[in-house]
Amino acid sequence: MANQVWVYIDQFKGQATPSAWEAVSAAKMVASQLGSGVTALAIGSGVEGIAQQAFDYGVDEVVLCDDASLLDFRVEPYAAVFAKVLGEARPQVVIGTASTRVRDLFAYASIDLGSGVIVDAVGIEVKDGGVVVTRPVYAGKLLCNEVAKKGQPLLVSVRVRAFPLPQSGAGKSGNVTKVAPVLSEDQLTTKVVDYVVEEGEVSVDGAAIIVSGGRGVNGPQGFEPLRALAKVLGGAVGASRAAVDAGWIPYSHQVGQTGKVVSPDLYIACGISGAVQHQAGMRTSKVIVAINKDKDAPIFNLAKYGVVGDLFEIVPALTEEFKKRLGK
């Protein structure tokens, strides 16, 4: 286990999350510059299938901790395994996707490891043998280059969609090491009793297409045409703070400084004026389309394509158009 670069594979109920593999891309890039291989670590219950997937994505070796007590993510037992394994291996860097779980895990385990954490990386490079991580701060108004001052491994989470999925070449294999859990159930202070999953809608987290509504949708029913467009495009529905605070749509849809930060391929802003707090959550989207009645709305400063008009006419027309084009 002499690899200097490790990657932590985030999973939910035994399945690696799609963005978990983006971390492998970042790890392979850093490893190639450091002249190292990549070791993957997965913790959970029923995670054995992750090992072969990791090899397919180009990882060189895998460490698994597979135990029924680890079915639901809880920070205490996960961090205990993580800190034990990485405390023994002491690589230079561990990379994982920037999910809620990984944020908790890295924060908690870093205290045991005596090493630093850098979250939400949008860029990583190796300079003079050290890892330099670029991340947004102040709601994406500024960028910051951060480095480890002391302790290793440096724990780095990469923002969802900031790195591509690695090429998958089936057929590779490698060494799989299994490790046992560190804490037993009676040593844990937390129990997961339930999971409430929201009403079958696509989540804005990691969505490739987001159709988002603001004050201009005028009420809860105003989101219906947006939902119809999102459905045709296979995208998620987002919202501005104004629409959420008005009670038109649940908070889980909010994009912006006090909501989710997203970076889809396509962001369609409908009836959103584009306050700086909203921009903070979506400005890194690849293509931004704005539909607004007010041609002076600040959202048009970010948009690649702008339509000045009534969203209740334009959005349904777009839905019909894409139904035709996409054969739905």
């Binding site: 999953v197 777009l318 158009e321 894409f322």
Partner: protein, 264 residues
């Protein structure tokens, strides 16, 4: 119930930021209580109203951060403590969490620590879990609902907001809990509250008062450094207006563009 609320003073969300000699400045924009922390003090006040006890606000920052504590007192917190020391400069999330942990231990007999999920300046969202680990307490982040607390059995039941939905957990107190929007509707300070807060004396603690050594905190204690900070490069976008005589014509033109962009 003895509750501690950790707050941070940050530049206003609408502030125009500039970087001067590697330092972030915000002109004459006001400094505010970190918006996420408003949900933390509101939850502390609601729990205090339900169970009795005390809500204590603490902050770590420069002398001027006392204003954030005055806001906490004005909305109804009972006590406030400012943690300030030149040695704290350059603290990362880890050094901050260690400092806050020592302050919580100094206050003593605390059942619950509440924080906002992240501060809108550093945007790390790491402090709650690090603080919990330093204290050896239960950590529950991203909490959108506290279902119940049993102060005598020392248990708590919460709902956590995760990517796949809401995780419902039961856990033991004492706990460090970070909260998000949706958990409550933060109150505004009352006129009487503001008057009372303006007259309050707020004790301040230095590093030595917390039993810490200057080598453990600030830039000395930090595990990460940020040698460079700079404005987000502005993407030169000039909007291309899509026009037409009917919504259908506009939709068709826009669809052409988006298909050509390969984003659909």
């Amino acid at each position: 119930m003895n509750i501690v609320v950790c707050v941070k003073q940050v530049p206003d969300t609408a502030a125009k930021l500039q970087v001067v000699d590697s330092h972030v400045t915000w002109g004459d924009s006001p400094l505010i209580v970190n918006p996420w922390d408003e949900y933390a003090y509101e939850e502390a006040l609601l729990l205090k109203e339900k169970f009795g006890g005390k809500a204590t606000a603490i902050t770590m920052g420069p002398e001027s951060a006392v204003e954030a504590l005055k806001t906490c007192l004005a909305v109804g917190c009972d006590e406030a403590y400012l943690i300030t020391d030149p040695a704290l400069k350059g603290s990362d999330a880890s050094a901050t969490a260690l400092t806050l942990a020592k302050a919580v231990q100094k206050l003593g007999d605390v059942d619950l620590v509440l924080l906002g999920k992240q501060a809108i300046d550093g945007d790390t969202g790491l402090t709650a879990a690090m603080l919990g680990r330093h204290l050896g307490w239960t950590v529950l982040t991203q909490v959108i609902k506290i279902h119940e607390i049993d102060p005598s059995a020392k248990t708590i039941k919460v709902e956590r907001f995760m990517e796949e939905g809401r995780q419902v957990c039961t856990a033991k107190l004492p706990a460090v809990v970070s909260v998000i929007k949706g958990i409550n509707e933060p109150r505004y300070p009352s006129f009487m509250g503001i008057r009372k807060a303006s007259k309050a004396t707020i004790p301040s603690w230095g590093v030595a008062d917390l039993g810490l050594d200057a080598a453990q905190v600030g830039a000395n204690g930090a595990f990460v450094a940020w040698p460079e900070i700079y404005p987000m490069p502005v993407k030169e976008t000039k909007v291309e207006w899509i026009e037409g005589s009917s919504p259908q014509e506009i939709a068709a033109k826009l669809a052409d563009k988006l298909i050509a962009e390969k984003v659909i």
